[in-house]
Amino acid sequence: MKCQHCEKPATFHITELTGPEPVEYHLCEDHATKYLHASENAEAPAPTLAGVLAKQLKIGQTAEELARLDKKACPICGITFYEFRHQGRLGCPHDYVCFEQELEPLLVSIHGEKRHVGKQPVVGQQNTADQTELIRLRREMQDAVDREDYEKASQLRDRIRQAEQKQKRGGAA
């Protein structure tokens, strides 16, 4: 068998198990050294989000648990855990509350810690629940508009205005 990258005989047969699917490589000594060297670099303890996520979810989760977890959705922005897992980006600040259990071990793998110790907002607004509520109201209004339920939409619009006014006053205080 020839090396996948050159004409030399393949003397190294590597099965890579770190990706989602096993991948086989047949390489000559030179290319094998290069390949192994590259993956050694990639696996240095500066982990990528995708890698950490994949690893974390493989450990201690059965297929059913994972399927159930994937369906879990944030009540504020509507993102599912499945979407987060695939895009690697969260949907809104409330995700840190509603996916807290799932995120904590992930944060520990990335940062080695799960508690913030740095700067804090001076103004003393440490609970963002009131503000994130606006995200939900806007989303519900959009849904109402899409359903052509304009009565509901206009009710929601009024509540959004009220909430925005309250915030502005809060911000100015």
Partner: protein, 356 residues
């Protein structure tokens, strides 16, 4: 247009002054912040993005010490202008290539910029010349305070500042130092240095951040961790390794000077020769050769070019700058010709008359 004025100037961070500035080009710190009352960017519809942009713009305009800020609507800028801002490190490649409402506020000396609707609602960054971690932090901390008085940032008492990607949560702080390491590259020691840095959770990136190749032997060293350590700890962690890397680079330069002075001098002189005489030249080759010339000037092997000129050429010869400077759109081969002309013009000896 005001952008055209910016083109001809050199940004503050490229002045090439400060201690160790032959190796440490610049210091950059950035903070990721999000408004609590909007979804993170990926989950935003256009109305959300527009509302975020407007909210932040209105609040920025209220800040009395910021009246001279240049506020740019990135959606209405041409691709060349956006490319120019990327090359200038004032915006990221990601926000340049995105669509929809997004903007950047730039301080005229280019010591800071605030990107709006990048991966997070706000990305604040401060850039200083040379190694200047504490001053850069003091400045960005003040900027963050000014904005925080006017905006509700998403914050969680245990997780800190909340970000779209969990890799930035907590402080939201990325501390980067840009280093010029040609001798470590020539002596094949650069990989070893990087592996050492990765072991202590520091990341190494190329000139233009994540995923970018190291161009012109420039490397950015930055923290990977953002949660569970204070801002001053993070600054210290990056700051602590820089002297060691500077030391390695100096030793590698000394080694080259001692073991193969002719080869080194030859490399530098040839690089300078090609840059002064080429009729058409790519951006990659230019970076590579300028890197050798930069090291040559710093080692005293070349004496007829000021270091500031070299620093500026690194940025002025890139596609966006080149097209802005000559005032028209150019395809790749036209750019290569224009780049060669530009290099000849700026590397000619001061005694020679400028080309008409």
């Amino acid at each position: 247009m005001i952008l055209d004025e910016l083109v001809r100037r050199a940004p503050e961070w490229l002045r090439g002054v400060g201690p160790e500035s032959d190796i440490v080009v610049s210091t950059r710190v950035r903070l990721a912040r999000n408004l609590a009352e909007f979804p993170f960017i990926r989950r935003c519809n256009e109305a959300d993005r527009t509302a975020i942009e407007k909210t932040v713009r209105d609040r920025i305009r209220e800040i009395s010490s910021w009246t001279d800020l240049l506020y740019l609507d990135l959606n209405s800028l041409s691709p060349i202008d956006r490319q120019f801002l990327v090359e200038r490190q004032l915006i990221s490649r990601e926000i340049a290539d995105a669509t929809g409402a997004r903007a950047v506020a730039i301080e005229p000396q280019e010591t800071f910029s605030v990107m709006i609707n990048e991966e997070d609602h706000l990305r604040i960054q401060v850039m200083h010349s040379g190694l200047d971690l504490n001053a850069a932090w003091a400045q960005i901390n003040g900027i963050d305070d000014l904005l925080e008085e006017r905006l509700n940032f998403a914050f969680h008492e245990r997780f800190g500042y909340l970000t779209a990607c969990p890799t930035n949560v907590g402080t939201g702080l990325r501390v980067s130092v840009m280093l010029h390491l040609p001798a470590l590259v020539i002596t094949h020691q650069i990989e070893k240095v990087f592996r050492g840095l990765q072991k202590i959770s520091l990341a190494v990136r190329g000139l233009y951040g994540e995923g970018s190749q190291a161009m012109g032997d420039f490397y950015q060293i930055s923290n990977q961790i953002t949660l569970g350590r204070s801002e001053s700890q993070l600054l210290e962690e990056v700051g602590d390794v820089v002297p060691a890397i500077i030391d390695y680079e100096r030793k590698a330069r000394e080694f080259l000077l001692k073991e193969s002075p002719k080869d080194l001098h030859d490399r530098v002189s040839r690089a300078s020769g090609i840059l002064r005489t080429a009729q058409t030249i790519s951006s990659e080759e230019t970076m590579l050769l300028l890197s050798s010339v930069r090291m040559g000037v710093n080692l005293g092997l070349l004496t007829d070019v000021p270091i500031a000129t070299i620093n500026q050429l690194f940025i002025h010869t890139q596609p966006g700058h080149l097209q802005k400077l000559c005032g028209s759109e150019l395809d790749t081969s036209e750019r290569n010709v224009e780049r060669a002309r530009y290099l000849q013009d700026h590397l000619r000896n001061e005694s020679e008359p400028p080309r008409p």
